[in-house]
Symmetry: C2
Subunit: 307 residues, 2 copies
């Protein structure tokens, strides 16, 4: 029996308040599960498992439905939706968190609806590794599982995180966090140590410098697209993961060549996402625009071999 969705994502839904040198927004739609699923929706059918509060407007639910995202696993509970407030300086590389209110996210215990359990692709967005393990216990023999995390869990629950990482196919992490996790300043050595934990593939996100993939003996460097207008980097990493997983689920293939293309589709989605606040750019993004930017990435990296 085939699942009703291609990709299951478990993560956060949030109201973000963000200030960058280019503007300011308050209580806009955000959260890892949202950025991921909207980016992935251009390629595949996604189902979300997450939690929101009573204050979550139906307007946002409509937006997700328009993107053909299955929101049957998006639970509304008593209380307020998770809120994050942050600020970026001119370099846009690191967010300064001004305020975090977990609210209903505090007691989030993901329960995977029956009809999501045989999803072939699973993305465990950045949440408590104990919850990520709980999801892994509920899904039925997925074809490919990817997991994201952050320094908070590396420092707070390193053993649980290692246990979760050992059970997934693809581990996605920021560069500084990869080094921190393995306590190894050299990235190539840190990558080898991470792969020895279990995952077949490691993706290292480097912000405005793109991303690196380590997969067996294969190393692939995906550049970031040099943009003249970057308004808000919030959600870039999850948009990357969404484009990446969306393309993989669409091709139903995880050969080296396909993973490389998926890395570029991920980079394409991240590059669109940062062009506006919240998911505003995604609202009017079209698939032909995605293909056009993919080809621009191709031009950006192309050089002839020596003969």
């Amino acid at each position: 029996m085939s699942s009703s969705i291609d990709i299951l994502v478990v993560g956060s839904v949030a109201f973000d308040s963000v200030e960058t040198p280019f503007g300011k927004v308050e209580d806009v739609l955000g959260g890892s599960a949202i950025y991921f699923s909207v980016a992935a929706s251009f390629f595949s059918k996604v189902g979300i498992v997450a939690v929101v509060g009573e204050d979550f407007p139906s307007l946002y639910l409509e937006f997700l439905k328009e993107k053909n995202i299955d929101i049957g696993g998006l639970k509304k509970v008593k209380g307020s939706t998770f809120r994050w407030k942050g600020k970026y300086g001119f370099d846009l590389n690191e967010a300064l968190t001004l305020d975090t209110r977990l609210n209903v996210f505090q007691d989030f215990r993901p329960e995977i609806p029956e009809r999501y359990r045989d999803a072939e692709y699973v993305f465990l967005a950045n949440i408590d590794p104990e919850l990520q393990l709980r999801v892994l216990d509920q899904v039925e023999n997925p074809k490919l599982v990817a997991l994201d995390t952050m320094n908070f869990w590396i420092e707070g629950k390193p053993d649980k995180l290692k246990e979760a990482v050992a059970r997934v196919d693809i581990f996605v992490i920021n560069e500084a966090e990869a080094r921190e996790f393995m306590q190894e300043p050299n990235l190539v050595k840190a990558a080898k140590k991470i792969l020895s934990l279990g995952p077949k593939t490691l993706i290292v996100k480097r912000g405005e410098y793109g991303a690196l993939m380590f997969h067996g003996d294969s190393v692939f460097s995906a550049p970031a697209y040099p943009l003249e207008f970057i308004y808000d980097p919030t959600g870039a990493g999850d948009s990357f993961a969404g484009g990446f997983m969306g393309y993989l689920a669409n091709t139903r293939n995880a050969e080296d060549g396909v993973i490389r293309q998926a890395m570029i589709f991920g980079s394409v989605m991240a590059s669109f996402n940062v062009e506006d606040f919240s998911l505003n750019r995604m609202k009017y993004l079209t698939y032909p625009e995605i293909e056009r930017r993919f080809r621009e990435f191709k031009k950006l990296c192309t050089f002839e071999d020596i003969t």
Copy 2:
């Protein structure tokens, strides 16, 4: 009449004392003109214009001659050779300068020997822009001139630097310095402003993240090679420039496709250079190794276009 050299480089020769987390060396051969010319020597015939003191050992001169570098313009004068002392932390991205003794470099006034003046390729390494202008006045109609600089001159002599940049074909600069020079935090905007000053091509060096080239409407991203063993980043930028210019001078062509390959050869030479202190790796480097790493760069960046 054809020049006896392919590339003229004007820059510094130094004794470097360097400490990294992987070791420590004292008074070893360094300086921009040295790193540049040794890297370029694998591709083309280079002539150096620089100054050393009486303490400069003939052993080093022998090494340069072995690399087929023309040292007729390397002037030995009374006094001590330029000395630089620096330290790198674990991230290896930025050097902490502990001591700088200009010594004979203080009074360096480049004079281009007659037989170097019709060199078709000229590299103005990072020196006072007034001296770079002085060199430009002495050379006779070169085919291609590239210029490097640093924050010291951006802050101290911005107008002279702009005057020099306007007269060259290729401007090479670090990312943070490109932003600082144009007082523009967005790199793409800063690149456009720099190109409007006059040069046809801008190369932005990004350390361990590679380099970007802006050339008309063409943008090219060259990755850095992810290395497991990096011992000393000193001279990486000048080695990059040497590989880049060396390849261009060898092909005698500056079309977009050739410049892209030259960017990769530059990255290849930088990647070898950081594998040991001083120019130690260059001593036993062979051309087949250079070609092999070029092909590894090709693998690192390759992905299939979408159909």
